[in-house]
């Protein structure tokens, strides 16, 4: 303090305007703590630079278009938060702005995190997945058998997207004669779950299709939301007809896929799983026909050989008798001569 006073005198600066680092940090800290607006408040932003320490504390930035703020979520709080914390997710954070005097660092101390936007969909999907898993909807024992050669296939998807073209093409490439019925449905948006369910119901009740395919191309979790709906999941589970899903790309996991009797990774794959290659079926029959003919030929050959052996045996027996007779005659002749 004495040093500050001396410097103040030297430079003609009133001592109340000169602070030590500790003092200024303390002043900032006090100011922050008494500003109610930034205490126990809500901040909307996107999570970036997410890091988790070995002690289980989360450190990340929350940003919007123009600014960012450092955030810290201590382990004793994070254990109570149900929301998954993911990089790039938009969230609403409840917390208080705090100031770490030692380092002069300002951060938002997180009390709770609420998912919004995409994060909301992740949360909903996770919760539904856990719920349906508990109920046993994903168990393999509930999967209906996919017919090996379906004559008629029903497809529920949008007739405007590429998915329908991919499914139809892959079916036709493998088995041209299969009849296909298409029921148009939204595959994203509010109405999509209900329309997909109605499409499946239509095929179940009003057609004689052997199999139903539903799906769509790739998209983000929001786009795929219809395929993560409980309504559709339960319809698939309770469907009287077997259902194959072909949704999104390789990495996309949907609830509909988990419940389906057969899950494939794309619409094209769904078509492939639905029907065998007709060429291969014919090839199998051709091979079998060849094997049957060869076996029969071999059978006849063996039988013929058997007959010949029998014949030879017979002639050998006759020869034996003749020789015996001859010997007998010779012996009689010798007896007569003697």
């Amino acid at each position: 303090m004495k040093k500050i006073e001396e410097i103040g005198n030297e430079l003609s600066i009133p001592k109340e305007f000169i602070f030590s680092v500790t003092e200024i940090n303390q002043a900032i800290s006090e100011k922050i703590e008494e500003t109610h607006k930034i205490q126990n408040t809500y901040v909307l932003g996107e999570i970036t630079n997410l890091n988790k320490s070995s002690k289980g504390n989360f450190f990340f930035n929350l940003k919007d278009e123009k600014s960012l703020i450092s955030c810290v979520l201590f382990n004793y709080k994070s254990n109570k938060i149900k929301t998954e914390i993911n990089e790039g997710e938009e969230v609403l954070i409840q917390g208080s702005v705090g100031y770490y005097r030692k380092k002069g660092e300002l951060s938002l101390k997180v009390n709770n995190i609420y998912p919004v936007g995409i994060g909301k969909y992740y949360k909903q999907k996770k919760e539904l997945k856990e719920k349906l898993k508990k109920e046993g909807l994903f168990k393999s024992e509930h999967k209906k058998e996919i017919p090996k050669i379906p004559e008629k296939i029903g497809i529920v998807t949008s007739t405007k997207g590429d998915a329908i073209k991919d499914i139809v093409k892959s079916i036709k490439d493998r088995y041209h004669e299969v009849n296909i019925l298409i029921k148009n449905s939204s595959v994203q948006g509010e109405k999509a779950p209900q329309e997909l369910v109605q499409g499946i119901e239509y095929f179940e009740e009003k057609t004689d299709v052997d199999l139903i395919i539903t799906g769509r191309g790739g998209g983000n979790i929001e786009d795929l939301q219809a395929f993560n709906s409980e309504e559709l999941a339960r319809k698939i589970f309770n469907s009287k007809k077997p259902i194959i899903t072909g949704i999104g790309h390789k990495e996309d996991e949907t609830i509909a896929g988990l419940v389906a009797d057969k899950k494939t990774i794309t619409p094209t794959e769904a078509g492939k799983e639905a029907v065998p290659k007709k060429e291969e079926l014919i090839e199998n029959l051709d091979k079998l026909e060849k094997e049957l003919n060869e076996t029969y030929k071999k059978f006849k050959k063996i039988k013929k050989q058997g007959k010949e052996i029998k014949k030879e045996k017979k002639s050998l027996k006759t020869m034996k008798v003749a020789i015996l007779l001859l010997i007998l005659i010779i012996l009689i002749l010798i007896g007569v001569i003697l």
């Binding site: 379906p150 004559e151 298409i182 079998l288 049957l292 006849k300």
Partner: protein, 66 residues
């Protein structure tokens, strides 16, 4: 759906097995051989399962017939 396809394959395999066992007479062998060929022919024919139609149900209109 051709439920019979795989059953028929099994039938022919059984015939082949019988022929390999050689426990039957020639007349019986000829009969089951002919039967096997007939099963194969019928199965091939049954693979022509449909007309390959693609029908859009919304309009109930056939959009393509191959």
């Amino acid at each position: 759906m051709i439920k019979e396809y795989h059953n028929n394959i099994e039938k022919v395999k059984n015939i082949i097995k019988k022929l390999n066992e050689e426990q039957i007479n020639e007349q019986k062998a000829s009969e089951i051989h002919k039967k096997g060929l007939k099963v194969i022919k019928n199965t091939k024919n049954s693979l022509d399962i449909g007309e390959g139609t693609i029908k859009l149900l919304e309009s109930n209109k056939k959009v393509k017939k191959d």
